[in-house]
Amino acid sequence: MARWPRPVTLLSVGAATLVVALTVGAVIPLMLSAEGAGRLVAADWAILRFTLFQAALSAALCTLAAIPLARALARRDFPGRSLVLTLLGAPFLVPVIVAVLGLLSVWGRAGWVSEITGATLDIYGLTGILMAHVFFNLPLVTRMLLTGWAGVPPEHLRLATQLGFTPRDIYTHIERPILREVLPGAALLVFLICLTSFSVALTLGGGPRATTIELAIYQALRFEFDLSRAALLSLMQLGLALTVALILLASGQRGAGGFGLSLRPQSIPKPRNPWIDRAAITAALAFLGLPMLGLISLGIPGMPDLPDATLNAALRSIGVSIAATLISCSLALAIAGGVATHRGRAALLGEGLVLIGLTASPLVIGTALFIAIRDFIDPFAFALPLTALVNATLGVPFALRILLPEVDRVIRTRGPLAQSLGLSRRLWLRRVLLPGIRRGLGLALGLVAAFAMGDLGIIALFGSTETETLPLLMFGLMGSFRTDAAQATGLILVLLTLTIFAIFDTWGRRAQH
C-alpha cells in the first residue's frame, strides 16, 4: 500500500525510541557512572544456565498446558463461559507475593492438599517455580491460542465436517497449523516474562541453586552498589532475550498471537466424548481457581485490621495505574501504526527491541532514571509520575503485542479507503482506527492498568510514606509482622486490579462489529 504520511512515522519512531531508551538504554547511565569495569564471576554462569533453563521449561510447560485448555474453550459453549474467560485473566494480575502465598495455601507443606491427603507435599524447587510460572502465564497463553482458533475461517470448519475429518485430521489440518503460527510468539512471551523472575524463583526455588540473573542484579545494585556489574548483568539478560526473540520472531509469523479478542465459541467439529474437554477445563479451573480462593480465605481475616492508610494508598494506586495505562497505550498505538505500515526488517527489529523491553529489570530502569534525572529534578518529589512513566514503558510490549495485529488489520482493510477519501488524521483516528481496534484496546488498557497497579519494583525505589501505593503498603505491613492485614491489603489489591481490568476489557468487548 501507499506510504503513510510522514508524521505517523516520526511519531512511531519517537515512541519506539523512548521505550527502547528507557528499557534497553537504561544500562547506559549505569555504565557511565560506574567506578570500575564490571566483572562476571564463575557463579554467574551457573546463574545464567539456571535462568535460561527455568524460563525455557516454564515456556514449554505453559504452552503445552494451554493447548488442551484453549481447544476445549474454543469448541465448547457452556453457561458461565464468558465469566471463566474474564477470570482467566486473574492470575496474571495478582501481585507475585500474594500469588505465591495463594499457591502455597493449596500446594504448600501446610496447604489444603497436604491437609487432605495427610502427606506433606514439598513443591519447593523447580516444581514450585514451574507451578507458579504456569499459574501466572497459562491464562495469557490460552487467550493467545484462542485468538488463533478464532481466526480459522468458518468455511474450513464446514469443509472439515463435509470431508468427514476425524478429531485427528482436524488436529493435523486445522489445529496444528494454528499452533505453529501462534505458539512461537506465545512461548517467547512466557520465556521473556520468566527470564526476569526473581521473587518467585527464589521464594519457591528452595535455595541458591534457583538464582536468576535478576537476583544477581538486585544484589549488585542494592548490596554491593556495583553499578557496572549491574549493567553487565542487565546487558547479559537483554542479550539473551534479544537472541531468543529474534530467532522466534524470524521463524514465526510476525504479529501472530494476539490476545484472544474474538472469544465466541467456534463450531469446530467436536469429538463425541466431551470428557476430554471437560477434564481440561475443570483441571484448569481448579489449578488457577483454588489458589485464588486460597488468597481470599487468607485475606478475609485481616480485613478489620486494615490500616487507615489503605484508602489513600488505593487511590494513589488507581491514579498511577490509569496514568500509566493511558501513556502506555498511546505509545503502543504510535509504535503499532509505524510497524504495521512499514513491514520489513527495520520494523521487525523495532518490534523485537520493544519486546525485549519485557526483560528490562525495573530496578535497573529505576536506578538509571534516577542517575539520569537527579541533576535536574528531585526524583522523590516525582515518585508517582515516575512510577507511572516506568510502568507505562514496561507495559508497552504487552500493549503492542495486542494492538499490532489489530492496527495491522484496520490499516489493511480500511486504510486505502481512508487514504483515497483523504480523511483527516483526526477523523481517521477517532472514527476509523479506534473503533476498529476497540476490542484489542480494551484488553490492552486492562492489562497495563493491572500491571501498573501491582507495581512494586519502581515504587519501592522512589516511594516513601507520602507516596505509598497499595503494594507498597502491603509490603510494609508484611515487613512488620502484620501478615493478616498485609494479606487483606493483598486481597483488596487483587479485587481492585480485577475490577479495573474487567472494566476496560468489558468496554472493549462491547465493540460493535
Partner: protein
C-alpha cells in the same frame, strides 16, 4: 436426482420454503436478489443448517437427517475452500482421504483429477501462488474425487474474469454430464446462469420457484425475476 420436498428453513428474520427437483447430469442455477436465502438453501442441503420442516432426497434416499459427512453432497464455498498450508496436491487428495494416507492408486487418481482440470503443473504449489480461478478448480478437483451425486457451488464465478467464467461454466457442464451429477450453483449474474446452467430456479420473496429451462426462464421472467433483472435481456 436431488429432490427438495416442501423444505422450510427458518432463520432470524426470514423464512424460505422450497419444493423442486434438480436433474442428474445437468446444472441448475439458483438466481435471485441478495439475502433471499440462496446460500442458506445450499447450507441446508449440505447439512450445515437444519431445516424446520420438509425432506431432502437424493436418488430416492432421504438424507434430511444424515450427518454432514455422510451426505452424498459436496460443496464449494465462496471463499476459503483450500487449506493455505497444504499444497494443491494435498488439498485435492483430501477428497479421497482426510488423513492423506494415499496408496499408489489414490495418487494416480489425484494426478488424473488435477490433469483433467489443467492443474498438473501446480500440484506442488501452495494455494497462495494460484489465481482465484485456479483455486476454484482445485476445490472442484477435490469434489470430483469425492464423487458425490450432488455438487453445490456458492457463487463460483464471483471472483473470476470473463474468460475464466466461460472456462468454469464449460467444465461444470462437462463434469455434470460425465459423472451424472446434480449440480446446483448460486449466482447473481444471469449471463453466468445462462452459460453454465441447463435450468434456472428463482429464489425470491421467501420462495424457490421450480427450475425451468434456462433461456426460457430469462426470456419470460416471473414478476419477481423481472424486478431483479431490470433492463437486462438475454442476447
Amino acid at each position: 436426482m436431488l429432490s427438495i420436498d416442501t423444505l422450510t428453513i427458518r432463520r432470524p428474520g426470514f423464512t424460505l420454503t422450497a419444493s423442486f427437483e434438480a436433474q442428474s447430469g445437468s446444472v441448475t442455477a439458483l438466481i435471485g436478489p441478495s439475502g433471499a436465502g440462496k446460500t442458506t438453501l445450499l447450507h441446508a442441503i449440505a447439512g450445515f443448517v437444519p431445516p424446520s420442516a420438509g425432506r431432502i432426497r437424493v436418488q430416492g434416499q432421504d438424507i434430511t437427517d444424515l450427518p454432514v459427512s455422510d451426505r452424498p453432497v459436496s460443496m464449494l464455498f465462496q471463499d476459503h475452500n483450500l487449506f493455505t498450508h497444504m499444497t494443491v496436491f494435498e488439498n485435492t487428495a483430501l477428497g479421497l482421504s482426510p488423513d492423506l494416507r494415499l496408496n499408489k492408486r489414490d495418487r494416480e487418481r489425484v494426478t488424473d483429477a488435477l490433469e483433467r482440470l489443467g492443474l498438473s503443473t501446480y500440484a506442488s504449489r501452495k494455494p497462495e501462488a494460484l489465481s482465484g480461478g485456479q483455486q476454484s478448480r482445485v476445490a472442484l478437483a477435490r469434489a470430483l474425487l469425492r464423487n458425490r451425486p450432488v455438487l453445490l457451488l456458492d457463487e463460483p464465478f464471483s471472483a473470476l474474469g470473463p474468460a475464466m467464467r466461460a472456462d468454469l461454466a464449460q467444465i461444470l457442464k462437462e463434469v455434470a454430464a460425465a459423472q451424472n451429477l446434480s449440480v446446483l450453483l448460486v449466482t447473481h449474474q444471469p449471463e453466468d446462469a445462462l452459460r453454465a446452467a441447463d435450468h434456472i430456479a428463482v429464489v425470491a420473496d421467501g420462495e424457490v420457484t421450480p427450475p425451468r429451462p434456462a433461456r426460457d426462464t430469462l426470456t419470460n421472467p416471473t414478476p419477481a425475476l423481472a424486478d431483479y433483472l431490470g433492463d437486462w435481456r438475454p442476447l
